[in-house]
Symmetry: C2
Amino acid sequence: MKSDLDRLMAERNLDAIVVEGPDGLESANPDYNYFVGGRHIPGLVIKKRGEPAMLLHGPWEQNEAEQTGLALVSLNRWNMRDILQEFPDRLEARVEHRRRIFAELGVRGRVGIYGTVKAGPFFALMARLAQRLDGLEIVAELDRDLISMARLTKDSDEIERMRVVGRKTCEVVQAVIDFIKAGRAKGDMVVGVDGRPLTIGDVRQVIGRELAARGLEAPAGTIFAQGRDAGLPHARGDDEMPLRLGQAIVFDIFPREAGGGYYHDMTRTFAIGYAPPELQQAYDEVLGAFNMVTAEFEAGAPTRVYQDMVCAYFEARGHDTIGRTYPIEEGYIHSLGHGLGLEIHEDLSFSSLVDRGDTIAPGSVFSVEPGLYYPDRGFGVRLEDTYYCTPDGRFESLTPFPMELVIPLNVER
Amino acid sequence: MKSDLDRLMAERNLDAIVVEGPDGLESANPDYNYFVGGRHIPGLVIKKRGEPAMLLHGPWEQNEAEQTGLALVSLNRWNMRDILQEFPDRLEARVEHRRRIFAELGVRGRVGIYGTVKAGPFFALMARLAQRLDGLEIVAELDRDLISMARLTKDSDEIERMRVVGRKTCEVVQAVIDFIKAGRAKGDMVVGVDGRPLTIGDVRQVIGRELAARGLEAPAGTIFAQGRDAGLPHARGDDEMPLRLGQAIVFDIFPREAGGGYYHDMTRTFAIGYAPPELQQAYDEVLGAFNMVTAEFEAGAPTRVYQDMVCAYFEARGHDTIGRTYPIEEGYIHSLGHGLGLEIHEDLSFSSLVDRGDTIAPGSVFSVEPGLYYPDRGFGVRLEDTYYCTPDGRFESLTPFPMELVIPLNVER
């Protein structure tokens, strides 16, 4: 939570943090949006330890800046035209501009850097700045960084927003089921009212419309993958492909509030009309893993324990897992989940690949998504809810939606 | 154009370029999208001078990667689990991972860095890598960098896509005009069929729906600003505000192909019902400036000339301009335009603030947007088309839409 920032700065011995908010990256800059609430305000946030965060913004964004509740500093205070006359080299001018900002605002010592940036200009500026400024130590954190760790635990406002996104996402999934159910079986395909076979592209149109109607967007797309594609965790699904009866369909939807807000992440696996025994068995095993692991969750426990638990569960049922084979392409081949919030993948990891000592922190939100993948046998199964660990250590699914494999269908006569 | 990359690398004496494509930044990573075509493929692009670009991708994205037409290298080739066993420090492991990639692919010498990244992890990796690797010189360009300069000139496929986005954007503007025209004047407001006053929020819903129906998105929002807000160039407009007769409305719409494609940028200024004389005069002057400057365009000419021309034009008519006052908040207060393509602001600048020697390059696409701003007098005017300078030096507006101030309205009886 934001209220953790000073404690986290003290733990890292940071005197100040700078969160870059360059123009053009709005919704892809979650660190910055954490402070400016998704508003379009190019600039930067500076916070010194023990002091309120300041937003340095252009004069044109005064109105939007006032809505953030941050302490405001107009960038007009540093006249770029004057600086450019004194420092004709554009990089030197940028360095001088930043030097003056840091000097006047008292930014010195160990300074952490955050936000989304363009690689070249940022590296050029920071490398030169570090050379030029005595008493400035730029601290670049690889992962589990200060702002990620603040964002890891959500406050009650954030949780309420995430609950709403969860409910809306479930509504979209229900709308897709209703759309499919309104069709009729014809041979091994599903036909619509006009008698034409429904395709994945048709489903995707429904998804897009239903998301937009609820103020949601899916910047990284949506997975609606059938058959072999369902066995490839990141295959998006082929729009040309007709829906077919008895095929595994992995429907993984991860939208966010439009304009750079909070995400939800849920997956259901479906079979239209009926499920072949092999698919039903894999489904039951994934559902078993899901129920087993969520029943075992304890606040503060290491995430690794649950990844290992799921690997053991699947291995006992004859599946290979990432716990014993790497790289791996069949069986249980990924990690159990990940943190989410302003990003779809946030800094809480269940990975067994790198054990960073992550725990299920009270106040955190994360996905739980066991799966089995057999592309060469033409199917895959994944089931996923978004979970919230409350501050007092209870667990709440933010995905109030049943897990049922078969979507029943009427037969065309 | 992409075909310029080797020439541009030679000019900069670059042996290789690396374009970072981290997960989660998809549509906000135009440098990377320039290579992968907006597909969701976390990874990186490496191109050595004189050789084809390589895409290093995860094994799960094999299918999408194949569609890029790039030379493919699976990241499975470097086993991160093994590296982590040898280098338990996670930063050292990342450095070693990148070192092995560079060594095996022969990346050495002067290496340019591009793409959108997270500030902390990127700086940490690059600073350590530069220390560790003998024979590696990291080249960070501030602006007018190699990829920006390749992207500056569009090939025929890119132009055709930008023409289509331009036509669709005009359709959206027309739909908004039609929506307003379907209302009736009642007092100084506009009421809809249900007798309730239309608001800017109502207009914004139309814009959202019409954009989505055409496969467009507006990640940085849309400006629909009335009255005083029209005089503040970046005010988005207040959704609660009812549309009022005789007020200046600046409608600046800059959507792109959904999922991170090409942008369009156009602005019209409207007055519903009638225009007060002061607004009409400012409008005529901005239109005069627009027509004057576009008639004078010459391929290869310095952009600064046109910025100066527009300043002189407005100054001769009694307006203050950024050409003689800085900072400035009334009159002509910004630059004449900017390049656009995969970003709304690209590296072709008409700015009079920093003269970088930019010229109107044949093959480039840029906005032309003179304006006058008088927030304290309750209005502002801006008119903007997107222009294309053809390879043979002609100029084409990609915004086939008239410039007419008044939207006529029926009076309710």
